[in-house]
Structure formats: structure tokens, C-alpha cells
Amino acid sequence: MQLPQLSSKWQIGLLLSAWLIFATLLIPILQQSLIVHLFIAIPGLMFLGYLMGRTILPEPSTIAKWNQTGIPMLLMASLLFIFWMIPRFLDSSIQQQSFYLLKIFSLTFLCGLPLAWSLKKVSYITLNFFRIEFIATLFRMTWLFMTAKERLCINYLYSEQVLVGKTFLILAILFSLWPAIRVVFGQHKESTQKLKQEYNHAK
């Protein structure tokens, strides 16, 4: 992805203030609805962290030494993402200030940011392993939200929970279809090249 070129001061100021406004002013509004909380607030926090990782906060060399393959940081980001998908902690982040702060910091700086550092580095096979796991998690969430007979979050309505389940299903299907779409529309050349490179490298 090509990012617009701005002077670094501007970038730092813009991104940090965007994060501050989003995390402190918008999140309390966005999390009033479960569907917005899950599909806009949480990905939004992660995306801002990702943008910071691509621009103003490159990976420090000490971390890079421990994250040569990109796997450790990608794993940390994935586990934190799973943590915030547990209904109990969504409720906690609404009811308890400490969990709220934990959410906005961890999703941006321990999830989105390391993703930006790691995604450039991970091998094509690892990346796809995580992709498949991500899609599987979307299906797991679909199953959880669509089959639960009771409310999973005490701060949200049951009707919205079912809607969230359906949204997870649509996302899961779209993400599963994405590779197929890429293959059909000619992006496969790039993928096979990458695979060949890795194969040769492994040999």
C-alpha cells in the first residue's frame, strides 16, 4: 500500500491526534452498539496502530532482532485480537475504566502496530496460515453469535447479537472468497512467484 508522503512532523501530529480523538471521544459513542463496536471501533483502533507502524513508528532494532521472521509479533497481535473477541471483556471494557484503557492501548500499540511490522516480513506460507486461522475465527464467531440462546454481552440486545453473527458470516465468506477472486483475476502470478522464491530459498 502506498501511503501519502507528508513531512514527519505532520505525520506524527496527524496520526497521534487522530488516535487520541478516536480513542477518547469516538469509541465511547461507537461502543454503544455491538455491531459498531466490533466492526468499526476495534478494527479502527487496530488500523490506526497499523498506520503508525507504517509511518511514524518503524520497528525499533531491538525488537527487530527478536522478530526476524515476523511470527512472534504476529502471534501476539492475533492473541490480543482473540482476547478482545471474548464477550466478557467487551462488557468489561464498557463498564470498567481500566479495561477501556487497556483496550484502546492494546489494540493500537500491541495489535495494529506489531501487525505493520510483521506483515512485511512473514513468509508467504506463514501469512496464509494466519489468514486461514483468521477466516476460521470469523466462522467460529459466526457460530458463537448465531447459536447462543442467551445474550453474550449484558450491555447489548439479543437482536443485535444475531445481526452481529450474520455480519461475521458475511465477512467470513468474503474473506474466504478473496483468494479465489485474486486467482480468477490474474493476481496468481505474483503468488506463484512468491511461492517459487520461497521454495528455492528453502532448497
Partner: protein
């Protein structure tokens, strides 16, 4: 090598974090967490100020010495509370008949301060039963009292978008010393009976 060490570390730390924060993989929702926490560590309840069906003010501590089955309602409720009401009426008949349950009382607390007063509570109760014996209905005296009650019980009340409310409905059992010791489903009779017997003992 470093990568491997860090990967293993994150994997263990992640699993440990989720294990610790979900009470050993037992409570993945706030409601199950609430029940788990209360059973592990009963909560000493404050002395709330309440208004009964006759419009008289009383204190929660006046009921100490009894085993209380407390539920939360609002009298305009068209769904759950209606079921809860008839379920409580059934329970009331049972505890009146059963001599072992003489010291058990049913409590319904309304959280709808705008609409519910002594008269509304009385009408609600009369919909389900002819006698108020061993079944007390209350509304908190103030918003602040209500807030304290809901907070201590861990009950969250939200708007249902149709002018009513949705809340985590359950039966809360307190022991004779005024501790909240158990939260259980009211739909499951067996579980409820088991819970009552365990608290009485």
C-alpha cells in the same frame, strides 16, 4: 532462535492471560463471571432504603435472618418479568406449603423509578397471587439507592429501544446473614431448588 523463544513466550503468555482472566476458562461472558465470582466470594450487601407495596419506607436489613430470593423487575415489562412473575407465584405457593421453607422470602425489586410506585407494585403482585405472604415487592427510594443496588448485584439494565428495559434476569439468593451467595436461573426449577436447599443448609 530468538524468534522461536519469543513465539513460545507469547503463546504461553497469551494462553495464561486468557486462562487467568476467564476464571480458568470457566467464565467467558460477564454474566457467568458474575455468578462465578459471587459463588466464590459472597458479597456483603449494603443496607438499602426501599419502599414497599403500602408506600412505607423500610430498610433492607429489616429482612435479615431470612433467606431471600431476589429478582429485578419493572411492572410494565411485557416479556420476561411476566414469566418471572408467574414463576415467583408458583414458588410462593411452594414455600408457603413447605415447612422447611418458612424462613424463605421472595423479593421483587423494581428498577423503574419513573413508573413504578407502591400502587404499581401492588397491582403487579395481584396479577399473580392473592396473598402477599412471604413475597415482598419494593422500589428503591432514590436513584442513588437503585444505583448502589444494581452495582452490588452486578445487574445491568439497558433500553430495549421500545421504551422498556432488558436486564440480566436471574434469581439472587442471599443468606440469613445478608450475604449474596448465589445467582441462578429462574427457568430451571431443579437448579433453583438445589440452590435454595444449599443456601438453607
Amino acid at each position: 532462535m530468538r524468534d522461536l523463544i519469543l513465539t513460545v513466550f507469547f503463546l504461553c503468555a497469551g494462553i495464561a492471560l486468557i486462562y487467568l482472566k476467564t476464571d480458568s476458562f470457566q467464565a467467558f461472558t460477564a454474566e457467568s463471571a458474575r455468578r462465578y465470582d459471587i459463588e466464590k466470594q459472597p458479597i456483603k450487601l449494603s443496607d438499602y432504603q426501599l419502599i414497599d407495596v403500602n408506600g412505607e419506607q423500610m430498610n433492607f436489613s429489616d429482612l435479615q435472618g431470612k433467606t431471600l430470593l431476589i429478582d429485578f423487575i419493572y411492572t410494565r415489562c411485557p416479556t420476561v418479568c411476566t414469566l418471572l412473575g408467574s414463576s415467583y407465584a408458583k414458588l410462593q405457593r411452594k414455600i408457603i406449603k413447605d415447612n422447611n421453607l418458612n424462613n424463605v422470602a421472595l423479593i421483587s425489586v423494581s428498577f423503574d423509578l419513573t413508573y413504578d410506585n407502591a400502587a404499581a407494585l401492588k397491582a403487579y403482585q395481584q396479577r399473580y397471587t392473592q396473598t402477599p405472604e412471604q413475597w415482598y415487592m419494593f422500589v428503591p427510594t432514590s436513584k442513588q439507592q437503585l444505583h448502589t443496588i444494581l452495582n452490588e448485584f452486578g445487574v445491568v439494565v439497558i433500553d430495549d429501544l421500545y421504551g422498556g428495559f432488558i436486564h440480566n434476569s436471574a434469581v439472587h439468593i442471599t443468606d440469613a446473614a445478608g450475604y449474596l451467595v448465589k445467582v441462578t436461573d429462574w427457568q430451571n426449577n431443579e437448579e433453583l431448588n438445589r440452590a435454595i436447599t444449599s443456601v438453607i443448609k
